[in-house]
């Protein structure tokens, strides 16, 4: 009877030791995991690697490590986020609606406020700029019959507004000697301001002169945001 009691007590003791050891191990593992929480390779991760990785997995792993090490030895590279230039917007069309608290489509107010916050203080009016004819020729030469047919159909011509000096771009090929950003619009006698008439004609472009042909303006996509040209577009399209 006594020996049975001693046996039970030993089993209890063993269970206690095993239980406490298990709890202790779990606490230690949690503690180590916590200590290595910012590390990519925690001890558990390493354990899982040794248990599950095949030869190929190890080869991939070593390759990745090597590439990471190479990347880390490169000089600091900074990704610069450049905001795309935005088309000018005529906010006056919303002025009365805002005053009268009329319905304004969702997001438009946000756009108008964002537009009003644009900083145009660093823009400079360009001295070297294309005339109306220069601008029209640059546009026609770029789009060819897509635009000539529009101008012929509407008996229209192109006018250019205020020109803002734009930074010269260093691309392969010809060297730029002048670059301006400006709004343009098509006009005819009957209807006045026709805006862009239709695509592909746009209302804002860059005009560029190159070293090899310093008297000719060429068309390019606009490279900076400029204010809406209320003088050019005093008659709304």
């Amino acid at each position: 009877m006594q020996s049975a009691h001693v046996k039970k007590s030993r089993i209890k003791k063993t269970l206690k030791i095993v239980g406490l050891s298990f709890i202790g191990l779990v606490i230690i593992i949690i503690g180590i995991e916590f200590m290595y929480k910012d590390s990519v390779e925690s001890p558990m991760y390493k354990v899982q690697q040794y248990l599950t990785y095949s030869k190929e997995d190890w080869a991939n792993y070593e390759n990745m490590k090597r590439m990471q090490a190479e990347a880390n030895t490169r000089p600091d590279m900074v990704d610069v986020l450049i905001e795309a230039p935005q088309s000018p917007e005529d906010t006056t069309i919303w002025t009365n609606a805002i005053k009268n608290k009329d319905f304004i489509p969702e997001g438009v107010l946000e756009d108008i406020n964002r537009y009003k916050k644009r900083d145009f203080s660093k823009l400079k009016i360009a001295e070297d700029k294309p005339s109306d004819d220069d601008a029209q020729q640059a546009i026609v030469r770029n789009y060819q019959n897509e635009v000539t047919s529009l101008l012929s159909k509407y008996k229209a011509h192109i006018k250019i507004g205020a020109c803002y000096a734009a930074p010269l771009q260093k691309l392969d090929g010809d060297t730029e000697i002048a670059r301006v950003t400006a709004m343009v619009s098509a006009f005819n006698k009957e209807q006045g301001n026709l805006g862009n008439i239709q695509a592909p004609l746009n209302v804002i472009y860059d005009f560029v002169k190159y070293q090899s042909d310093p008297t000719t303006w060429h068309l390019a996509d606009f490279s900076q945001s400029i204010p809406y040209d209320y003088v050019l577009n005093k008659d709304k399209w």
């Binding site: 026609v140 060819q144 019959n145 012929s152 090929g173």
Partner: protein, 373 residues
């Protein structure tokens, strides 16, 4: 019975071969010269089938080419005329006179001091449209059925050579650059600049869908329509090199002037070069032959073997003028005496093919254009 069957089979097969050869034999030779008359000859009996006389001779004093299709021969003239002739009768069936497009003023390119001309145009005839370019920088597609202009692409440069078509692209050499235009819309698809030191005024040559250009300084370039370079070969020591006398075979490209160059077509490596003459002569044309190439210069015809060795010569009584054209195993060439000659591949048997070709004594460039079918 077995013998009779075998004999019958042999006779049938020999008849079939003869018929095939006859089918392949060319029947009609078309010719134009710097004087711009057009001639059609029956190759078998050397008879003139028809002759379209030149006109506006003061202006039409350089050769312009023609395109032959199922029913018509369509010829460009330097004064801007494009005329379609019935290829059997020579009767004029269609004509236009190219002029500056109505939108030219909008582009304001300065062509005030450039005469309006069509230089070296075929013109191309593609799906019922003619495609060509003029000296005022215009590349045009015109519907033959309606004579309506499908599209015009305007350039600031004088265009000296004919456009070429590869798939749905019209490719045009513009001296300093090459432009690719969509054949249906006339919209520019792409353009590339040639090397500044290697301007190309020669016609580009299309072979197997790829492009050969030859610069003024003898850089032979081979590239894909996307302008991916396959190879370049820079030739030295030559003169008068032009794509008008280039020959492209399955294995090699032959070009040059006083020296003829043979370049491996696949690798762009020199196979051989042979001096054809020292001075007071001119390479006119290079033509295929079975075991080498046949070359015409102003003063003589030369046969070169596969290694570039001159193996036969034929001195000419009258100076040659224009291309050397191979048809039905004979070579045809025009001389300054107004005679078309034919000669065999061994340069042994020269014969008068036709006397009385109109040679304009005032022509600026010695050239002819021939096509046989």
């Amino acid at each position: 019975m077995v013998r009779f069957s075998i004999l019958s089979l042999l006779i049938l097969s020999s008849l079939s071969c003869t018929k095939k050869e006859q089918d392949q034999a060319k029947k009609t030779l078309y010719l134009t010269t710097s004087a711009n008359d057009v001639y059609a000859f029956n190759l078998a009996d050397k008879k003139l089938l028809w002759h379209a006389e030149a006109f506006n001779k003061a202006e039409n004093d350089e050769v312009n080419f023609f395109t032959v299709d199922e029913k018509h021969l369509t010829k460009a003239y330097i004064d801007g005329s494009i005329i379609q002739y019935d290829k059997k009768t020579g009767k004029k069936v269609w004509e236009i006179k190219d002029t500056d497009g109505p939108d030219a003023k909008l582009y304001n390119f300065d062509f005030n001091e450039v005469a309006f001309r069509l230089f070296y145009q075929y013109p191309l005839v593609v799906n019922g449209n003619i495609i060509f370019a003029n000296s005022h920088g215009e590349i045009k597609s015109i519907s033959m059925a309606t004579k309506k202009v499908n599209w015009v692409y305007h350039n600031p440069n004088i265009i000296y050579s004919s456009p070429k078509v590869v798939k749905n692209l019209v490719l045009v050499s513009l001296n300093g650059s090459m432009i690719a235009i969509d054949i249906k819309t006339g919209k520019k698809v792409s353009s590339v600049n040639y090397d500044e030191n290697e301007p190309v005024t020669n016609e580009m040559v299309i072979d197997g869908g790829n492009i050969f250009t030859l610069s003024q300084n003898n850089l032979l370039s081979y590239f894909t329509p996307e302008y991916n370079s396959i190879w370049d070969y820079k030739a030295d020591n030559t003169s008068q090199s032009s794509t008008h006398n280039i020959l492209i075979t399955d294995d090699a490209v032959y070009f040059g002037g006083s020296t003829l160059f043979a370049v491996d077509k696949e690798k762009g490596e020199l196979l051989w070069k042979t001096e054809l003459y020292k001075d007071d002569n001119a390479l006119l044309s290079v033509s295929k032959c079975d075991d080498g190439v046949m070359v015409s210069t102003r003063k003589e015809l030369l046969k070169l073997d596969d290694d570039g060795k001159i193996i036969a010569r034929k001195k000419l009584a009258s100076e040659a003028y224009g291309i050397l054209y191979l048809a039905n195993n004979n070579y045809y060439y025009v001389c300054q005496n107004g005679v078309i000659y034919s000669i065999d591949a061994g340069l042994q048997h020269e014969a008068v093919f036709y006397k009385g070709i109109n040679i304009d004594p005032e022509h600026r460039v010695d050239n002819t254009y021939m096509f046989a079918e």
